[in-house]
């Protein structure tokens, strides 16, 4: 069947099989392999993408569900090669160890910051609680979200550890 949707700000029109998961459409058919599969059951958040700006598990929804809607994947976060402030912050604070969880965490972060540009620690914890990370202990991820938030809000930023 034919599927029309907006992917990373571009219109896409593609033929897909019924029952195809969104993650497979992205990874297998469109070669956007930045979206990761950690469990396939909605339990790890590695496959998180934004659907109309809201984070969803792309392993749980069907490709057909994105018809006429907007999908953002990790590949769509940098605009013309410029990294999103959250991406920059993740690399600066050391929030990336193996990096398998990073794309999903970044999309959850961007969704949070779009909705709430100055989140508290508690709000950050809640917003990221669906994204498992086994390497970092989350601390440097929280620091990254806070750094990105300060940058987005134009606050002067000092990363005193650099």
């Amino acid at each position: 069947m034919k599927l029309d949707f907006v992917l990373n700000n571009k219109r896409v029109s593609i033929n897909v099989k019924g029952g195809l998961r969104l993650i497979d459409l992205l990874r297998e058919q469109l070669d956007l392999v930045g979206t990761k599969e950690g469990c396939g059951k909605g339990e790890c958040g590695a496959c998180t993408v934004l659907l109309d700006g809201k984070p969803v598990c792309s392993c749980l929804i069907l490709a057909s569900q994105v018809r006429n809607r907007e999908v953002t994947t990790i590949e769509g976060l940098s605009i013309e090669g410029e990294m999103h402030p959250a991406q920059e912050a993740f690399t600066e604070t050391g929030a990336v160890q193996c990096g398998f969880c990073s794309p999903g965490l970044l999309l959850s972060t961007v969704a949070l910051l779009n909705e709430n540009p100055e989140p508290s620690r508690e709000q950050i914890r809640r917003a990221l609680s669906g994204n498992l990370c086994r390497c970092t202990g989350y601390e440097k991820i929280f620091e990254a979200v806070e750094l990105a938030s300060r940058r987005i809000n134009g606050l002067s930023v000092q990363n005193d550890k650099v």
Binding site: E43, I74, C98, S129, G137
Partner: protein, 748 residues
């Protein structure tokens, strides 16, 4: 400007935040097929029939392979060759691989594998760790089901116990811990027309994989090339098992002449892949009234599962760490790795030591309590210092930062003995140590190679045989190379680890990558630097030893030229700026029979302090804060060292209070998914204070020693001790759950 010791950013993190880090499952190859594994549904049985003909007839199926198709040896070589690649007559655990099916797409391969009809006659199985030794009827390994028995004998414990004022005897138990790396296992095998098989996948030890593939496919080492893909976490879980998975893909790839990808499903990964060994420990220790530890007796049993894999070496590490970081003149340790009809256990951060340290450190606390001494004081009276001997009689010559780590935690946390605290709040300490590197447990592998090439444009590439798993090895080694050659960090790149580039460098385990590859790189860089030096001396017209390399410049007194000019000049004269480096560990003297001698080249040291609050009504445990101080010799990159501490502490907290993998009465794991096997989320993370102590190790690169495993190791006992401090309930079986604490409160 030198970059060693600086908080430089990780170069590969930039590609990874853009989604560009190529993990094993992210690449496709022309004509690629997908494999899936048919597994045993029973814990022990005889295979009567596998109907391969009916499978091969299914739509989309390209082939099905059993042990009969293996051209070489049907074995996964680890320590003892007892584990088959594909089961022959018997199956010995739920999830044991029996056959591999290959299809055009993954979905078909998985569905067919799952629904494959097998005829297996179920047999009685051993599922309990305490029933395994000398089982009268069931023989899984040898005639006693003991993979390995190790012992340490020091002094005379039985007479020393007679002189003790307080003796405690207790049993401790720990469950499985699942690695729960977020990237499931994945590998692709690609056959080439000349008969070469290339294997690309997530892994810690490419040379293990190469050995397994060459043996099972009967190929020379020169025809098997193993390349590590970006690896999404490992923690020991990608040490030995990738050998098995690689062979499951390489066999059909060779037979069908097409690339074959095999990616495990999460549930399959949790059922069939290695875990931390469950353990049972009997611990007896005695002190005199002055708080001095006089004697310790330990019986330590770990559940190895159906095949030996790494159990013997895991047991080895647990055995030599059994008393903790203390002086003790009278010690008797007997340890056993036993066989059961369960999934083979293997390496996991800490490698057999977290289990026994849970017992040792809980016991230390109980002794302090009985003596009415504070937990810091009892540790101070016993902890190891320079000049002391470990329980194997190894004399510690340098780099013993244990007491410094204790002082640091006390200073930063402000903890005081008997300090007043709220009701239900408690503090718990653990002091631990970790033998760095393979030590006597793997001395034949204690070597590593490296290659460095300085290109004509001044960029530098290097190769090593150890792997990046998320810990930051690429960054740390790039920092070392940048400083050794004298170029900016941006000019240095690591080539993905590839068995065709460097000689067999052993595994990436035992916190050895920084020290081993770091030293091999230094060796290579020194050779290159000598060429640069002699060229520069000609250019500057001075003698060799008058030359300084600094900040991209080569100088002699006031005179200087840019390093790049020297590099260009070498290139123009066709001088080689490429070198191979090699490093072997100094010999260890440990003797298996007596349990004495030098075990590791050096040790890392740590102190943890946990602050918890326990609800007296519900038993609920709230972890308020963890201080964790580690002597790392030298932090080449403090941000990465802190990252290791924060991540390891949280993984240790999971082990301490939540993670609990269980199997049912027929040996099947009942919670093989993230919704039932619970690991810490962003909401479970308490405040963690990472603290670094630097007591240089003279033989390490810039004084560094490995420590990546240590942050996990002492968290469980610190938490158990804190819970006791809070509500006087002692939990001796992990995890420390609210139910157990509640039960303890009720029984008081």
């Amino acid at each position: 400007m030198s970059v060693v010791g600086k908080r430089v950013q990780r170069p590969e993190s930039i590609t990874r935040v853009k989604g560009g880090g190529l993990f094993a499952d992210d690449s496709k190859y022309h004509g690629m097929l997908h494999a899936a594994v048919i597994r045993s549904p029973v814990a022990r049985g005889i295979i009567q029939c596998i109907n391969t003909e009916s499978i091969i007839k299914k739509k989309g199926i390209e082939g099905v392979f059993t042990c009969k198709d293996i051209p070489g040896k049907n074995v996964i070589p680890v320590v003892i060759d007892d584990q088959p690649l594909l089961a022959e007559r018997y199956v010995n655990y739920v999830g044991e691989p029996i056959a591999v099916v290959v299809a055009k797409d993954r979905e078909t391969a998985r569905t067919v594998a799952k629904n494959a009809k097998l005829k297996i006659k179920e047999l009685p199985a051993i599922l309990d760790i305490l029933e395994a030794r000398n089982h009268p009827d069931i023989h899984i390994f040898g005639d006693d089901n003991i993979f390995k028995h190790l012992k340490i004998r020091r002094g005379n414990p039985s007479s020393a116990f007679k002189k003790c004022d307080i003796i405690l005897e207790n049993i401790y138990r720990t469950p499985y811990q699942e690695h729960a790396y977020i990237e499931p296992h994945s590998v692709t095998a690609i056959p080439y027309p000349d008969g070469t098989i290339e294997v690309r996948g997530c892994m810690q030890c490419p040379f293990y994989v190469r050995e397994a593939v060459t043996k099972s496919l009967n190929l020379p080492e020169s025809k098997v090339r193993v390349i590590q893909s970006a690896t999404g976490g490992a923690f020991g879980g990608k040490e030995d098992v990738p050998s098995l998975i690689a062979c499951q893909a390489a066999l059909p790839a060779m037979k069908l002449g097409k690339p074959v990808k095999l990616t495990y499903d999460r549930t399959e990964d949790m059922i069939a892949m290695s875990k931390r060994h469950p353990s049972w420990t009997y611990y007896k220790s005695g002190v005199t009234r002055d708080g001095i530890l006089r004697a310790v007796e330990v019986e330590y049993i770990i559940d190895g599962g159906a095949y030996s894999t790494l159990s013997a070496v895991v047991l080895f590490r647990g055995t030599v760490h059994a008393v903790g970081p203390y002086r003790c003149p009278n010690v008797k340790v007997d340890s056993y790795a036993v066989a059961t009809n369960k999934v083979p256990c293997g390496a996991f951060r800490g490698f057999g030591s977290p289990q026994v340290l849970f017992a040792a450190e809980s016991q230390m606390d109980e002794l302090a309590n009985r003596l009415d001494m504070d937990p810091v004081e009892i540790r101070r009276r016993n902890l190891l210092r320079v000049g002391d001997e470990t329980i194997t009689g190894q004399k510690l010559k340098n780099s013993v930062g244990l007491e410094k780590s204790l002082d640091k935690v006390i200073q930063v946390s402000g903890w005081t003995p008997g300090g007043c605290k709220q009701d239900g709040v408690g503090y718990g300490f653990s002091t631990i140590f970790y033998g760095v590197g393979l030590g006597a447990g793997g001395k034949h592998m204690a070597r590593t190679g490296a290659r460095v090439i300085v290109h004509a444009d001044g960029s530098v590439s290097f190769s090593v045989g150890t792997t990046e798993l998320g810990q930051g090895m690429i960054t740390v080694l790039s920092q070392i190379v940048a400083d050794e050659i004298g170029v900016p960090l941006e000019c240095v790149d690591m080539i993905p680890t590839d068995t065709s580039r460097v000689p067999d460098s052993g595994p990436t385990v035992a916190s050895r990558a920084t020290t081993m590859s770091g030293n091999a790189l230094k060796d290579a860089c020194t050779k290159i630097r000598n060429t640069l030096r002699s060229e520069a001396s000609e250019m500057l017209g001075c003698s060799l030893d008058e030359i300084d390399f600094d900040n991209g410049l080569v100088s002699n007194k006031g005179d200087s030229i840019p390093l790049i000019e020297v590099i260009k000049s070498c290139s123009f004269k066709r001088l080689s700026l490429s070198a191979e480096g090699w490093h072997t560990s100094p010999p260890t003297t440990f003797d298996d029979k007596t349990g004495t001698g030098d075990v590791y080249v050096t040790y890392a040291w740590a102190t943890n302090l946990a602050k918890v609050k326990v609800d007296r009504e519900t038993g609920e445990i709230n972890i308020l804060k963890i201080w964790s101080a580690h002597d790392v010799g030298k932090a080449i990159n403090p941000t990465l060292a802190e990252g290791q501490i924060e991540g390891g502490v949280l993984q240790g907290l999971g082990y301490a209070v939540m993670e609990d993998m269980k199997s049912d009465s027929r040996g099947a794991i009942i919670n093989p998914e993230f919704s039932t096997y619970i690991i810490p989320t962003a909401q479970d993370q308490p405040e963690i204070v990472p603290l670094i102590v630097e007591e240089p190790y003279p033989d390490g690169p810039f004084g560094a020693k490995g420590f990546g495993e240590q942050p996990l190791m002492g968290i469980a006992p610190a938490v158990a001790n804190a819970v006791f401090d809070a509500v006087r309930v002692r939990i001796r079986e992990l995890p420390v759950t609210p139910e157990k604490v509640w039960q303890g409160l009720r029984n008081k």
